[in-house]
Amino acid sequence: MPDLQSQDYIRRSASTLTPPRARRHEQEVAKLIDVSRCIGCKACQSACMEWNNLRGEVGHFEGSYDNPSDLDPNTWTLMRFTEYENDKGDLEWLIRKDGCMHCEDPGCLKACPAPGAIVQLANGIVDFDSEACIGCGYCIKGCPFDIPRVSKTDHKSYKCTLCSDRVGVGLEPACVKACPTGAIMFGSKTDMTAWAGERIEDLKSRGFEHAGLYDPQGVGGTHVMYVLHHADKPSLYAGLPDNPRISLMVELWKGALKPLAVAGLVFAALAGFAHSIVAGPNEPTPEDEARGRRLLGKDEPPGDDVSGGGAP
């Protein structure tokens, strides 16, 4: 429901104008996922489906607890299970709730060509407006986390909204409400960062010396953060990017190339116009015509060639 309060937009995809900025006092929110407290019950997944009224197709068993096996247009959050053998030879079952990270510098929004199809709210939520979405899949290329999925039926891109419709009326996201262990917390980004600090301290005291907060600065920080017991190796958690950032390809494509390309086209057109003013048209002279006709053996005076028009 991204157009509920358009005054709250701070970024709008494919727009050259500044969005309205009436409400600058909006507090930035964050969802904190404490991986160390997750028991993998998938209540968050169910709550997400229920609140957003999503019903994916029943799939097949792929040999892991991941169900379904990947995010899709009907699965906006997904528990990803990793069996990790640590240095001591012990098994660690790493469970990560995957979904949109709501980047401060969203690659999807940068890549999107449809005005207003992706917006960033002042509270940090990055939301898709399905009405404006054209289904090109550029958001997939822009995203450093491989999150958006384009539906094959309606050709719209989908992902977690951070329950923007709930947050907009002062409720926490559905996954947060459903979590039975308090592994998913929601509040202001400041509060969540402080809470994460306590959790990390606790984890460190219990022997997880590399425990830490995942709030990757390569994308300006995120509004979904993780507490990880192995914050030094995020990729252990089902390939969570170690140092996510918007790809250089996307930066070039959506950065330098856009103005340069328009300048190139305008320059080419103006150069042509200027040439036509300076040098003018190039027209055959009567002399050229006479010589051409002579070469063709048609230099008889006009009137003789009554058959007319036949090319040799």
């Binding site: 390809m249 856009k258 057109a269 042509g272 048209p281 190039n282 055959p284 006709r293 063709l296």
Partner: protein
């Protein structure tokens, strides 16, 4: 159609139809492609029935364009092979662009500029097709890894801009050199036009 007497056939009907099919596709691709490239052009997507339609129709027009251009390649490749004369002609480009063609080497059916346009498109269009297939989300979105798609979309944009600039040059040349447009619309030129611009070709007729 009405032809001035003594006019010379430049392009056969099939060639002209082939050219204009290519041209229509190219213009439609430029309009739809630019609308998805830069927000200042997004309004152009209205010409195609909105963003969704633009996104859906653009790749299909691209397929028709490449097929159509292949037809032009078959008809023209031989006459577009580069020769030493072309290099000599290019050396006189400073005289040619000010309409002073004294002392410029005689030109066959196509001059170096036209050959440049021909080969630039022959190179750019396949690149656009290949990269376009990679980023054709509906059918091939899952076929390549995302980093490959990122590279493909960047190359696609670069190649498209290059092709549009080549196209602007091509169109302007057709306006600048009076009589060229009729060669491609009606198929014939005056003997004077052929004498002035493609004398070697005229001699061979």
């Amino acid at each position: 159609m009405t032809r001035s007497e003594g006019s010379v056939t430049r392009y056969a009907t099939v060639t002209r139809l082939n050219h204009w099919l290519t041209a229509i596709c190219f213009v439609l691709l430029t309009l739809s492609g630019l609308s998805m490239f830069h927000p200042i052009f997004f309004w152009l997507s209205n010409l195609f029935g909105g963003g969704q339609w633009t996104r859906a129709v653009h790749p299909w027009i691209g397929i028709v364009l490449v097929a159509s251009y292949a037809g032009l390649v078959v008809q023209f490749w031989r006459e577009n092979l580069w020769t030493a004369d072309d290099t000599a002609w290019l050396r006189k480009i400073d005289r040619i662009i000010v309409n002073d063609e004294e002392g410029v080497p005689e030109v066959g059916r196509f001059n170096a500029g036209q050959k440049g346009v021909f080969w630039a498109m022959a190179l750019l269009l396949p690149a656009l097709l290949l990269t376009g297939l990679v980023i054709w989300e509906v059918y091939f979105g899952a076929l390549t890894p995302i980093p490959v798609q990122r590279l493909a979309v960047l190359i696609h944009s670069l190649a498209a801009i290059a092709a549009i600039i080549v196209w602007i040059i091509h169109v302007y040349a057709g306006i600048w050199i009076r009589g060229s447009m009729r060669a491609m619309t009606e198929g014939h030129v005056t003997p004077g036009w052929a004498w002035r611009h493609h004398r070697k070709w005229l001699r061979q007729l």
